[in-house]
């Protein structure tokens, strides 16, 4: 099966995923609207902060709006197109990979695109409000912003896969896996520039929130192409790493066999 077939397959998977997610459009759009509202309320906290303090170690309200927009886009796109990743640990635990493993394709893409969370659409819509209204960016900035935030989205998906893959080694740890991913998201949503060397080392390596928070904001704010390329490189590296962790974990897959208590 060649590259063309792989592209057709990927497009078909995504189209199917979105069709399923929006099979009940009113429910889907309401969920998205609630997520949009949720993000706006979240930003209100920072509005109150910046009404009382002029900056946060050099970051002003516009920087923070830029950050929230990038994280919202990255996360929203990730769960809209690859929402199945959030259920990977559960699938590992209860044998949900069987169907995907019985097909003549790599199981990871179909696992990821097995589910779409329409709330992601609300996240993505709120990104435009953060950028264009609160960060004061213009339409001309959008292509660069979207490129950077989309590269960050790949890092989000890779982290989602890596954390959920812990279930291969820690049976019955689906909640722990999800909790770890939530921690990652939490760090993404907060300004990371005041952190010291050790914290940054962690954010650029094992817990790559810097590729979703700090680095994209600096790349867009300073128009720094090198940093944008670093994000793209980071996205590729983390995607490869996540695929490798998944492949390694797959060797331990027990297809939901209840005999396996704690290996």
């Amino acid at each position: 099966m060649g590259i063309l077939s792989a592209i057709h397959y990927a497009v078909a998977l995504l189209r199917m995923n979105l069709r399923a997610a929006f099979a009940r459009p009113v429910v889907a759009l309401t969920t998205a609207a609630f997520m949009f509202g949720n993000n706006m309320i979240w930003y209100l906290v920072w509005v109150i902060y910046f009404a009382n303090f002029s900056n946060l170690r050099g970051w002003v309200g516009a920087d923070l709006a830029l950050l929230l927009g990038i994280v919202a886009w990255a996360f929203g796109l990730a769960v809209l197109l690859a929402g199945g990743g959030r259920e990977l640990a559960q699938a590992v635990a209860d044998g949900g990979l069987d169907v995907h493993l019985g097909r003549p394709r790599h199981p990871l893409p179909s696992l990821l695109a097995n589910r779409s969370l329409p709330s992601g659409l609300g996240d993505m819509a709120s990104a435009f409000v953060f950028w264009l209204v609160f960060a004061g960016r213009g339409a001309a900035d959008l292509p660069f912003l979207l490129l950077v935030a989309t590269a960050s989205s790949v890092v989000v998906v890779a982290t989602m896969v890596a954390t959920q893959c812990l279930a291969f080694w820690l049976p019955r740890a689906a909640t722990l896996c999800e909790e770890l991913f939530q921690q990652f998201l939490m760090v993404c949503f907060y300004p990371q520039h005041p952190f010291g060397f050790m914290a940054r080392l962690v954010l650029f390596t094992v817990f790559p929130a810097a590729f979703v928070g700090l680095l994209p904001v600096e790349a867009v704010r300073d128009g720094d192409i090198a940093k944008a390329l670093a994000i793209a490189a980071g996205a590729l590296v983390y995607a490869a790493l996540a695929a490798a962790i998944f492949a390694r974990g797959l060797r331990r897959y027990a297809s939901g066999n209840r005999l396996v208590e704690w290996r």
Partner: protein
């Protein structure tokens, strides 16, 4: 050449005993108890010729699904060897997937919210089936499994029986030469089971597909298969043609009669009363001595029958009978 060849296949799982509660749990977390090895499949060997229809049966936890998953490449064996359609499943899983169809009775590959046809379209992409070949194949399977009018309905709107027919058709879209079915009739009512069995027979007859199915419904075995492999506690217990198994273990049927009369009686050779209650008579019939239709005919002639149920012997009874026929096995620990 065999469609499926299995030699001394085994699979064990390493298990750490579950800790107790409270302090014991904490102690176990800090210093885990040593793992123990639990064998799920122990040195199973068999071969299946192209076009054969084989039932792979056994009670819950016997190791049949684990064996099937090794044959599809989903699980890696601990030992032994297997070839399916000429491929070693766990080494060539993706290449093998194009040659086999898999149906897990309790797992769906259809998208719940969307029409069946949408899942078929995606599967055509997954298997790289050309547009013309796909159209032809889908139409053919729709005819065999009588699902033409179901294709445009959302999967969520189908009954379990309808969904399973669609599942099997989906697994056959790429025209596999081998079909592996894991508990295909589980949860189905009598009518849906019968329909599904008829469709599988039609498929096998028309296309010569090799069928290996796991089940613990003796009805599946009798209606679909020509050979039976029985597995229990991970070991092969019996591998025989269905006719031989039927003669030895499946010749008895239970008939439950609900009659207008308070006390009913059927007096025929080979027919014994298993239970008697007012308006209800349960008979055990040796079908070698008296065919089932003769017993039913006698019941309808002599009594006003409100309800009549013919039951297969439960698989557990068949397995017990097999053990009874193998004193050396029956004497083993935990196999009585």
């Amino acid at each position: 050449m065999s469609a499926i060849r299995v030699e001394a296949l085994s699979k064990s799982f390493r298990v750490r005993p579950a800790p107790g509660r409270g302090w014991a749990r904490l102690r176990a977390a800090l210093r885990p108890p040593p793992a123990i090895v639990v064998p799920a499949v122990r040195g199973v060997s068999f071969a299946i010729a192209p076009g054969e229809r084989v039932a792979f049966i056994g009670p819950n936890g016997a190791g049949k699904s684990t064996t099937l998953k090794m044959l599809t490449g989903i699980l890696h064996p601990t030992g032994g060897h297997a070839e399916v359609a000429g491929f070693v499943p766990w080494r060539e899983r993706r290449r093998l997937a194009g040659r086999i169809g898999i149906v897990f009775g309790q797992r769906s590959q259809l998208w719940y919210q969307l029409p069946v046809r949408a899942s078929f379209d995606l599967l055509a992409r997954i298997y790289g089936i050309g547009r013309a070949a796909y159209g032809e194949r889908a139409a053919r399977l729709a005819a065999i499994f009588a699902i033409g009018d179901l294709l445009d309905r959302p999967v969520s709107a189908l009954s379990l029986g309808q969904r399973l027919r669609c599942e099997i058709a989906a697994a056959l879209l790429h025209a596999p030469s081998i079909l592996l079915l894991d508990e295909p009739t589980i949860g189905l009512d009598v009518t849906a089971k019968a329909a599904l069995r008829d469709h599988l027979n039609a498929l096998s007859r028309d296309e010569g597909t090799t069928v290996l199915l796991t089940s613990h419904d003796t009805g599946d075995i009798e209606r679909i298969c020509e050979r039976v492999i029985v597995i229990d506690h991970g070991s092969l217990l019996l591998d025989r043609p269905l006719a031989a198994l039927r003669d030895a273990y499946l010749r008895r049927r239970m008939i439950v009669l609900v009659t207008e009369e308070e006390h009913a009686a059927i007096d025929l050779p080979g027919v014994a009363v298993a239970a008697r209650e007012p308006h209800r008579l349960t008979l055990e019939v040796d079908t070698e001595v008296t065919p089932i239709e003769r017993v039913v005919g006698a019941a309808l002639t002599r009594h006003v029958v409100r309800d009549l149920v013919i039951e297969n012997p439960p698989l557990e009874e068949v397995i017990k009978a097999i053990y009874r026929g193998r004193p050396e096995a029956a004497a083993g620990p935990g196999h009585a």
